[in-house]
């Protein structure tokens, strides 16, 4: 090919020069345009980076996503609350006091007088009745909170009487959960809301509630841009202590490394999605402190008890063998760098009645013995299913490989079968997998939701492994009836013992949570449900 002659030397320099003269100054100038806001405005603004793409709605009666728990918790006060560090101590909020009848059926709440919604309407017993009934009749994700309720009566403006259909010792703790927040009934009705029995079709208030708050809490939602940002502003008329920050901006940043850079640069005050790996990479000497706390999330292995799914696993001795074969400490220390703990059964450490010393330890000899007793001295074949996206921050592949090796050491030959998450969830809910890695996050801070989900026959998790033990069902019911915390704790310990004997689920990791916080921020305590109580933060 012919070589072309021209005068490129000058041209090439020109081009290189133009690249330099255009790109670099533009970038530098953009840095200047973006001089950070200083002074009081910056000081009274709290900037939180977080992955907010889970958001669906801000309507307390319909939301059941992580981000909405935090937003709603600060806009809609609940009757009672549970705060760090003691998540077993129920504290007053909109209800300044309450009485529970001896039979555990009637709850009488006395509201804090003087609380007003942002509209100016006073908070009355009628609003409580409306909010609870609406939640019940919307028949949406969080409606189960009102399942125990038989009747609600507003005795006068500040007294509300709730009757349950059966005693439920966990119900008061449920009233700390954000979906049970109190809405301004007049405002919601004016925008199409209803608490009638046909609310699931008739209620039209959700789109209005997505754009603003109809609550009386310390912060009100003033703007929400999905996958971009959410803005909360201080409620000037709040009846409780005035919160420090005038404005809280949530920026949607999905990538953990970017979150870390923003926190280290001081552009974000709080980075909520740290994990052990990100924490390990924090620059030495950076102005950032790591707040650590225990989540009440669980990463576990489901063990199917249905003989049609696996005749081997249907034998209790085989399930016990599986549980004795696992190197639990190796998982916590090696796989998650000690960023987790392990309770004995499917009750997380932090709720009533959990004794970590009951946790099962690895005992390979016992595992082999149990297998031999069950008639499988040479082990058997089994499939382990999991999905490939993280299980509440824990990477499933290395965990599955570790379990494969551990079970392999006692002769159980595990085939790994990863599948796409949506497919796997469907199969798990249909009860198809033999062994399955899965995760669970808390509904509210009482043992009941876990007992009901995992150990009652037909419970949302129990039915996936066909777990059916009348003794467990009886203990779950006994725990619901018993109002005395000491006696309740004993019941859940006994249930834990039954669970360790039956092994329908094997608890693997209760992960710790890590948050990167600017050292100027005070009062950050990790909450297992709504991550942090925003109104308690200051600078």
């Amino acid at each position: 090919m012919q070589r072309v002659r021209s005068r490129p030397n000058r041209r090439s320099r020109l081009l290189a020069l133009s690249v330099l003269t255009v790109i670099l100054p533009t970038l530098a100038a953009s840095g200047l345009w973006n001089t950070p806001v200083q002074g009081q405005v910056r000081s009274e603004t709290l900037i939180i980076v977080r992955n907010i793409d889970d958001y669906v709605t801000n309507d307390p009666g319909r939301q059941y996503e992580y981000t909405s728990q935090m937003l709603d918790q600060s806009s809609y006060d609940t009757l009672v609350t549970l705060e760090a560090p003691d998540f077993t101590k129920i504290q007053p909020k909109l209800a300044e006091r309450w009485e529970i009848s001896k039979d555990g059926l009637t709850y009488t709440f006395h509201l804090h007088g003087g609380a007003r919604f942002s509209s100016g309407n006073p908070v009355t017993a009628n609003d409580v009745r409306f909010s609870f009934l609406r939640l019940k009749y919307l028949q949406d994700n969080p409606s189960f909170f009102m399942d125990p309720v038989k009747d609600i009566e507003a005795t006068n403006d500040t007294t509300v009487k709730v009757t349950l259909s059966a005693p439920d010792a966990s119900w008061l703790a449920a009233l700390a959960a954000p979906p049970t927040g109190i809405l301004d009934s007049k405002a919601v009705i004016a925008h199409g809301g209803t608490d009638a029995a046909n609310a699931k079709d008739a209620d039209k208030a959700t789109s209005w509630l997505n754009e603003q708050s109809a609550g009386e809490g310390p912060y009100l939602l003033t703007s929400f841009r999905k996958n971009e940002q959410a803005v909360l502003e201080r409620n000037p008329g709040y009846w409780g202590p005035k919160p420090y920050f005038a404005k809280i901006v949530f920026l949607h940043v999905k990538d953990g490394t970017t979150q870390r850079e923003m926190a280290e640069r001081g552009d974000a005050d709080i980075a909520q999605d740290f994990d052990a790996d990100i924490v390990a990479r924090v620059t030495r000497g950076a102005r950032i402190k790591i707040v650590e706390g225990l989540s009440m999330n669980q990463v576990y292995m489901a063990v199917n008890t249905n003989p049609q799914v696996s005749k081997e696993l249907a034998d209790k001795r085989v399930r016990q063998a599986v549980s004795y074969a696992i190197d639990y400490d190796g998982i916590i220390k090696g796989l998650v760098r000690d960023a987790g703990v392990r309770p004995p059964a499917m009750f997380p450490i932090g709720v009533l009645g959990v004794d970590p010393s009951m946790a099962r330890q690895r005992d390979a000899a016992k595992a082999k013995q149990l297998l031999a007793e069950a008639g499988y001295p040479n082990g058997f074949n089994v499939k382990l299913n999991y999905w490939t996206s993280p299980l509440l921050g824990v990477a499933p592949e290395p965990l599955a490989a570790k379990l494969q090796a551990d079970l392999g050491a006692v002769g159980i030959k595990v085939t790994l079968e990863p599948k796409e998450r949506s497919v796997m969830i469907s199969e798990y809910r249909a009860g198809k997998p033999q062994l399955m890695l899965a995760s669970w996050s808390p509904d509210y801070l009482d043992p009941h939701p876990w007992a009901d989900a995992f150990y009652r026959k037909g419970g949302p998790a129990a039915h996936r492994v066909f777990y059916d033990n009348p003794k467990a069902v009886e203990l779950v019911a006994a725990g619901d009836r018993e109002l005395d915390p000491k006696k309740r704790a004993a019941i859940y310990k006994e249930l834990t013992q039954v669970a360790l004997d039956d092994v329908p689920f094997i608890m693997l990791i209760q992960p710790k949570s890590f948050v990167g916080v600017n050292p100027s921020i005070k009062g950050y305590a990790i909450h297992p449900i709504w991550f942090v109580t925003l109104s308690r933060l200051s600078r």
């Binding site: 940043v253 999905k254 490394t257 989900a453």
Partner: protein, 337 residues
């Protein structure tokens, strides 16, 4: 003639879109998973009433062919249905995310053309010399580097270390968003007369646009170079040179114009791919565009959103192709209809 041509094109576009929707619909429904299992919480799925209500709400209780015909009928009326996950009309979701994507794509595309075409010309003229190798290196690194990696490195250098660029996102957190008129922040901030918001938006778009633009620039430069090399040895250029024309005019007027046709094809397709969303760039730069929405829709089996995005992508590709065809005619009169 032109009317007939346009009519043909439109008819073809309609058939193509229908095909795209049929395939997307079938593929989405072939996935052996229950969309409600993804949408509803563990506790809510146990309640058959809640399940039934959601099945009815999204028409999932009807046979598949009926669902499809129902969908087509709604699309014909401009209704793309309601997303399972966002619980908003898909059209509203698309209208929210598309402008952010267009804004970024157009800027990135401008970067790629402004830098890529001259770089390609330069490389062709200095064929096989050190400058050509340098240009090749720049292009190849741009086109071959995984874009999320380039993005992370760029953020690390220009945001974290040097502080030249602002952090991720479209706007400084202290700037309120201007009222949405067009959805394009650069335009809306000007309409609202807010210089601060405009500058903030501009400074936020530069880094992601450079990263994305560099990726496409590699492609543009390589295509320009090879196309130009091909025409540079053509007879008509020898004639032009023989007439005594200066090299600059030979290249600029005669060669480049003919060489641009393949460049147009390649960059046109690249632009369409930009418009259908760049998921990884969006993740790294926290850019609320269509790519992220598409991925979420796919992983959560959100049928209406999957079909909506597919339809939109189809429309984008067909329109870009059409515009490229028209531009061929501008560059080369022989192609004109």
């Amino acid at each position: 003639m032109l009317v007939r041509y346009l009519g043909q094109r439109l008819a073809f576009a309609g058939v193509a879109l229908l095909g795209v929707v049929v395939v997307a619909f079938l593929v989405a429904h072939l996935v052996p998973a229950d969309p409600l299992a993804v949408v509803l919480s563990d506790t809510a799925t146990k309640d058959p009433r809640i399940r039934a209500q959601y099945m009815k709400r999204w028409g999932l209780d009807r046979p598949l062919p009926e669902q499809f015909l129902y969908y087509l009928k709604n699309v014909a009326h401009g209704d793309l249905g309601e997303s399972f996950t966002t619980r908003r009309p898909v059209l509203r979701d698309l209208a929210q995310y598309l402008p952010a994507t267009i804004e970024l794509s157009v800027t990135a595309f401008a970067v790629s053309v402004v830098f890529g075409v001259p770089l390609g010309v330069w490389a062709a003229l200095r064929h096989n010399r050190s400058a050509d190798h340098a240009a090749r290196l720049i292009s190849l690194v741009g086109a071959a580097s995984p874009i999320f990696w380039t993005g992370l490195i760029a953020l690390y250098i220009f945001y974290y270390l040097l502080r030249w660029a602002p952090g991720p996102g479209r706007l400084d957190p202290h700037q309120a968003f201007p009222p949405a008129v067009t959805g394009f922040l650069l335009v809306d901030s000007l309409i609202a007369g807010r210089a601060g918001a405009f500058l903030s938006a501009l400074s936020h778009i530069i880094l992601p646009a450079l990263v994305l633009g560099w990726f496409i620039m590699g492609l543009t430069a390589r295509t320009t170079r090879s196309a130009l090399l091909e025409v540079l040895s053509a007879d008509y250029l020898r004639t032009a040179r023989a007439k005594g024309l200066g090299e600059r005019r030979v290249v600029g007027l005669h060669a480049l114009r003919n060489a641009l046709i393949p460049v147009l094809t390649v960059t046109g397709l690249a632009f369409a791919s930009l418009l259908s969303g760049a998921v990884l760039t969006e993740t790294v730069f926290a850019w609320p565009g269509i790519g992220r929405y598409a991925v979420t829709a796919a992983t959560r089996l959100d049928y209406p959103a999957i079909l909506g995005v597919t339809l939109l992508t189809g429309v984008i590709y067909i329109s870009v192709n059409f515009i490229v065809d028209l531009l061929y005619g501008v560059l080369d009169p022989r192609i004109r209809v």
